[in-house]
């Protein structure tokens, strides 16, 4: 465990140190990868800890990005002091509504319903010209202008999200979530309001996905509907499983790995998606606990 902590710390420092190189490509690439880490870790709160397989994560990511585009383009609001909380609020509010409706369903219904709401939002943005249509929207003025500053903001956000989530996991609330995953009925009969607990987790995860979307729109100055479609949600799920669900650092690792596969796979073959597909299928069949399961050795579990 000490080994893991040292590894995480040096990994975080290494990511921070990249900022000093000032290399445009690496700042952009690792910035994007770290946003992927935030997404994967926040989804782990639902998938790994609460046992909720949500396909709505990309929706909250995209909504916050669109919210930023709307605020800057329509209202001229740019400063992160205002836009960041407003965009997170938008994502959290959407998560509250979608979560409240979806959590009426359980198990496989829940998966399908979150999927359906994600696609509803996708079509809403994709089909209406006022919202940019299938081309998406440019963010006329980014809240953080320089690439280096944006990179540092993302780095700080990544660390903050990791600390926040690991605190939640160790708190009584996080333990209760684990209890719900293990046996919801028992938790309910012990007097826990399980649906409200799940809804709170759903909203926290949604807001953090919104944070990732906000950072993404800041880094690229651009948002398009494909980013909130269900395939994107599927990809986030893949990163969670690839790294190992329920471990927090595993999904982050998975996101980094997938970013590298995406980048170098694109150079090798235009059909790199097939590579990802084979990897996903292999992980499900051979390595159900993901890469972190490999690190921990197969003795446990």
């Amino acid at each position: 465990m000490i080994g893991r902590r040292a590894l995480l710390l040096s990994g975080a420092l290494a990511l921070g140190a990249v900022a000093f190189t000032g290399d445009r490509f690496w700042l952009q690439f690792l910035g994007k990868a770290m946003i992927g880490c935030i997404l994967a870790m926040s989804l782990d709160l639902l998938v790994g800890f609460t046992g909720l397989v949500s396909l709505a994560h990309s929706a909250f990511f995209g909504l916050a990005a669109y919210a930023l585009a709307g605020l800057t383009n329509q209202l001229g609001l740019v400063t992160p002091l205002l836009t960041l909380p407003l965009c997170l609020l938008a994502a959290a509010a959407a998560a509250l509504i979608i979560g409240w409706l979806s959590l009426r369903a359980t198990g496989v219904y829940f998966i399908m319903v979150t999927l359906a709401f994600t696609q509803m939002l996708f079509y809403l943005f994709n089909d209406s010209p006022a919202l940019g249509g299938s081309d998406g929207l440019y963010v006329s003025q980014r809240p953080v202008d320089s690439r280096l500053a944006a990179y540092l903001v993302i780095w700080v956000a990544l660390i903050a999200v990791y600390v926040l989530l690991s605190r939640i996991f160790r708190a009584p609330y996080g333990r209760a979530l684990e209890g719900i995953r293990a046996n919801e009925q028992r938790m309910r009969s012990l007097g826990y309001p399980t649906r409200r607990y799940k809804l709170v987790a759903f909203v926290i995860a949604g807001a953090l996905a919104g944070l990732a979307g906000y950072l993404d729109a800041t880094l690229y100055g651009f948002v398009n509907p494909a980013q909130l479609g269900w395939k994107q949600s599927g990809l986030i799920l893949v990163t969670v499983l690839l790294g190992g669900k329920g471990t927090l650092y595993g999904p982050a690792l998975g996101a980094l790995l997938l970013a590298f596969i995406e980048h170098y796979g694109e150079r090798v073959t235009e059909h790199w998606n097939a590579l990802v597909a084979v990897l996903v299928i292999a992980v499900v069949l051979v390595l159900p606990r993901g890469l972190s399961g490999l690190l921990q050795g197969s003795a446990r579990g």
């Binding site: 399908m112 509803m120 089909d127 097939a274 597909a277």
Partner: protein, 292 residues
């Protein structure tokens, strides 16, 4: 909206719903009997459409394409069940979602590599390329009529098969309790592979029938997959009758949405789903208590 236009839209909606039913029935059966949530189900629809285009472009005959394509779909279903789906029996939903999501990516790349990314039109067979006059101003293409009638015939056949035959009895038993069926000495594995390949073939057939109506394009499998999920959620998972009701509801809502509220058309279907969900969280005809 004039009465004749209303009637035509209603017919179109019902026809679209019937096509949706072919896809959704397989999805709901595979989940009900095999316990597997299959995201690759829409890919079978896409594959069917592409096969119809590819074969008919070479032979000039859509009937021949369907005749060759249908057994091909059955074969693909059998192979896929043996190689991938069988490993998901008894696994958690997350594994099922991810493995079949991997299959979706794989099928999409396959489509890109083999068939290319262009949109293709598929001409209707000459014998059915006339239109039927409905009232004064409205016409109904014969291929649409043929599609609707085939779907009705298939739905009726499926109903007979499931309610009246020994095989259907096993399917129903498998849907309510697969372990018990196995304990009674019925070869569940064979039942599973038959059900899966039948679902694959139905989705493929829906794609072949739809090919002349919608053209053949990348991503066509995904839009039908999501709508099928909506249908299954509305109808209740595992219920064929529910899938039928849900498919008609979704088909009609979608068609009228496109006419009455263009721009929000695709959202209407989801609003219907949300309403059903608020009223009956397990779907219109879903199981009363929690199953799997």
């Amino acid at each position: 909206m004039s009465l004749s236009l209303f009637a035509l839209q209603l017919i179109n909606g019902v026809e679209y719903g019937l096509l949706l039913f072919l896809v959704a029935s397989g999805l709901t059966l595979v989940f009900g009997v095999l316990g597997v949530l299959n995201f690759a189900h829409g890919s079978f629809y896409m594959l069917g459409a592409y096969l119809a285009w590819w074969i008919s472009a070479r032979t000039g005959n859509l009937w021949l394409a369907i005749l060759i394509g249908l057994p091909a779909m059955v074969l693909i279903g059998l192979l896929l069940e043996r190689l991938a789906i069988a490993r998901l029996y008894g696994r958690d939903h997350l594994s099922q979602v991810l493995l079949t999501y991997g299959l979706v990516l794989l099928f999409n790349e396959l489509q890109r590599a083999v068939f290319g990314n262009d949109v293709h039109g598929v001409p209707t067979p000459k014998s059915l390329s006339f239109t039927i006059h409905l009232g004064e101003a409205q016409t109904w293409p014969a291929w649409r009529a043929f599609t609707a009638l085939s779907c009705i015939a298939l739905a009726a056949g499926m109903r007979q098969l499931i309610l009246k035959t020994r095989f259907g009895m096993r399917v129903r038993a498998g849907a309510s309790n697969a372990e018990m069926v196995e304990a009674l000495g019925i070869d569940v594995r064979r039942l599973f592979s038959v059900v899966f390949s039948a679902g694959t073939a139905l989705a493929g057939l829906a794609g072949m029938l739809a090919a002349p109506l919608t053209t053949v394009y990348p991503g066509m499998g995904e839009s039908i997959l999501i709508l099928s999920f909506v249908v299954v959620v509305i109808g209740g998972i595992g219920s064929i009758k529910g899938a039928f009701l849900g498919a008609l509801l979704v088909g009609i809502a979608d068609t009228f949405g496109k006419v009455l509220l263009p721009g929000f058309a695709s959202a209407i279907v989801y609003a219907v789903m949300a309403a059903v969900l608020l009223w009956r969280p397990r779907g219109l005809l879903g199981p009363a208590f929690e199953g799997r």
